[in-house]
Symmetry: C2
Subunit: 336 residues, 2 copies
C-alpha cells in the first residue's frame, strides 16, 4: 500500500517556510499479526514543534531531517489483525506523547493504541482535553496558584492554551486579562470566553501602559505563552510574590541569535517573584486528575472551546506556518 | 550632647562615591523616662543598601536625602532611664529590620531594644547569626531545596551570604562550587570553608567554560548573589528542574540604565527551571527556626565564619564603597 508522508526537508534558519517540508510517497509493509493499520482523522499543529526543528538538546528529541514530522493526532482503524480493534474505531497512541507521523496511513502494534470515547468530539482530545488543555490546567493551577480576587494576565490568550487558562482563572474567581493580536480575537476573549478585559497588541505600541491602565492593582499571575517585549511590558507591573508561568515563548522561537532584552532578575528579586518553566510531560502522572476536572467543566458549560479547522492532509505545512502569523483562534486542527 | 551623624548627601547616579555621604554634628535631646542612650559598637554594611539610595519603590523604603544612613548594628548602653537596661549592656533593636542610624549615639525607648547573649561574639549577630546567615539559610533551603549529591553553584561565594550558603550545602551532602574574585578568595573557599571547587572570575574570561569543566553533571541549584554575565555563564549549564535562588544582583546595582542581556526565559522553559527572588523579610516569622540551626552548626564547628573588620565610625562610607570593589572576604563589619 502506497502512502504519502510529509518529511522535514531541512532545518529552518529563522522562520520556517514551505521548503522546510517535503512530500514523498512510500510503500507500507504488509500488516502482521497483532498489528493495526490506521489513517489519521485529525492532526494538531502546535508552536512547540518549531523547537524540534532545531538540532538542539531539549526535553523532546529533535525531528530528523528526511523523516516524517509528527504531531498530536486522532486516527481511525482501517484494517486490523488484532481482536481488540476493528475498522472504524477511533484511536490515539498510548505513548506519554501521543504523536502521529504525518503520513496518510501508518501501521502500529495494537498494544501501542487505545480507543477513545465516542461521546466526545474527537478533535477535543487534541485541544481542550488534550495537551493544550492539560498544559493550561497544570501551568495555571500548579505553578500560578491563583487565589480568588487576584489579577491574571495571559499572553497568547486567544491560542489553544490561553483560552483554557483564562477560563480556569475565572472559575477560580480571578480577574483575567488577555493579550492577543487583533480586534476580532480581543472581542472573542471578552464576549465568548468571559475574560474581564483584553489588550490588542497589534493595535497598541505600549503594552506596559495598557497593562498599567487595565490592571490598577498590578499583576499577580502572568501566564506567558509569548515572551519577548510583550512580557517585558507585563512584568513591569508584577506585584510582590507574583508568579510567572513560562508556558511558551513563541515570539522568540524563530530567532537565529540569542534573544536579548532587559534582565528580569533585579525585578524578580526585589518583588519576591517566582518564575517557573515547565513542559506538560512533567505532569504525566497527574493527567487523569486534570482530565477529570476539564471534562466536568466542559460538560457543565464552565469551559467553552473554539477550534480553527483546516482541511486536507496537504495543508499541514500551511497550518503550522500559520501559527507564527497568529492566524488561529483557539486550537488549530487539521482535518484529514 | 553633641553627636556625629553620616547622612545621605545626594542620590548617587551609578557607583556611589564619598560625596554620596555627608558628616554633620547634631545635638541630641535630653534623655526621658524609659529611654536609653546607646552607642554603636559594630555596624554591618551590605550591598542591598545601594538600592535604598535610589528613589524607587522597593521592599524597603528608600533612604531620605539629608537623613542619616542606617544599617545593621549592635550597640552598648551608655545611659539608661529604664530599669531593664544598664550601662554596658549589649543591645540590638527589636524591629523586624534591626537597623541603627549612622550616629555616634542615639536615644531609643527601652521597648524598642533587646539585650543580646554575651556568650556569642556580638559581631556574629550582624553576620552568620544575623541577616546574612538567615538569608543564606532560607534562600538555599527553602528555595534551592538541595538534595544530597546535587551540584550547587554560588556566585559572590566569598561574601557574607555566600560562605554560609556554601557550607550549608556541604552539610546537606551536596557538591558545592563557588565563584569569587581573586586567587586569595578562591583558596579561602576551598581551604577554609570546605567548598569542593572555586572559580576566580577575575582571572577568567570564560565562566561558561569553567562551569562546564568543573560541573560535569550540570548545575542543580544556582545561588545567585551577583547577576549579569557571571549568571549567564552558570545558567547555560542548568539541569532540568534546576532551582535559581535570586539573592543579590550586585553586578547590576550601579547600572544607570536597565541592564540588558540574553533573555533567560527560553532556557528556563525548556529545562523546567524555577527562578525565585526573595528578601529575608519574607521569612520573618521563621527566623527562630533558622537561628536555632545556625547556632547549633556554629557551636559544633560545622559552620565556620570570617569577617573583614574596619575600625572607626568615619570609615563607614569607605567600607560601604569597598563592597562594590569586592574588597571584603566574608562579612564586612565596621567596629566603631
Amino acid at each position: 500500500m502506497k502512502v504519502q508522508q510529509i518529511l522535514l526537508a531541512a532545518r529552518p534558519k529563522g522562520l520556517p517556510t514551505q521548503s522546510t517540508f517535503k512530500t514523498v510517497t512510500v510503500e507500507l509493509p504488509e500488516l502482521q499479526q497483532n498489528e493495526v493499520l490506521i489513517k489519521p482523522v485529525y492532526y494538531s499543529v502546535d508552536p512547540y514543534m518549531r523547537g524540534r526543528m532545531n538540532d538542539t538538546k531539549s526535553y523532546i528529541p529533535p525531528f530528523e531531517v528526511g523523516k516524517p514530522i509528527e504531531s498530536g493526532g486522532v486516527a481511525t482503524v482501517v484494517e486490523s489483525k488484532d481482536n481488540n480493534f476493528h475498522p472504524g474505531d477511533l484511536v490515539m497512541l498510548t505513548a506519554s506523547r501521543p504523536l502521529l507521523p504525518w503520513s496518510t496511513a501508518s501501521i502500529y502494534p495494537a498494544s501501542s493504541l487505545k480507543k477513545i470515547d465516542n461521546n466526545i468530539p474527537p478533535s477535543y482530545y487534541l485541544g481542550i482535553l488534550g495537551m493544550p488543555g492539560l498544559t493550561a490546567y497544570f501551568g495555571l493551577l500548579d505553578i500560578g496558584k491563583p487565589k480568588a480576587g487576584e489579577t491574571i494576565v495571559i499572553s497568547g490568550a486567544a491560542g489553544a492554551v490561553g483560552i483554557v487558562a483564562g477560563q480556569i482563572g475565572k472559575i477560580y474567581g480571578c480577574r483575567v486579562v488577555g493579550i492577543a493580536g487583533g480586534a476580532e480575537k480581543v472581542k472573542m476573549l471578552t464576549d465568548k470566553f468571559n475574560f474581564d478585559a483584553a489588550i490588542d497588541y497589534k493595535g497598541n505600541n505600549d503594552i506596559q501602559a495598557s497593562v498599567a491602565a487595565i490592571c490598577p492593582n498590578g499583576v499577580d499571575v502572568y501566564f506567558d505563552n509569548v515572551g519577548g517585549e510583550i512580557s517585558d511590558g507585563v512584568m513591569a507591573h508584577l506585584n510582590n510574590f507574583a508568579r510567572v508561568v513560562l508556558c511558551g515563548q513563541i515570539a522568540l522561537y524563530n530567532s537565529t541569535e540569542v534573544p536579548v532584552g532587559p534582565r528580569p532578575q533585579p525585578l524578580l528579586l526585589t518583588r519576591s517573584v517566582l518564575m517557573q518553566g515547565f513542559v506538560i510531560g512533567n505532569y504525566a502522572t497527574r493527567f487523569a486528575e486534570g482530565f477529570k476536572d476539564l471534562v466536568e467543566w466542559v460538560k457543565t458549560g464552565k469551559l467553552k472551546y473554539t477550534e480553527t479547522t483546516m482541511e486536507g492532509f496537504d495543508k499541514l505545512p500551511e497550518a503550522f506556518l500559520g501559527l507564527f502569523a497568529g492566524k488561529n483562534s483557539g486550537k488549530l486542527i487539521v482535518k484529514v
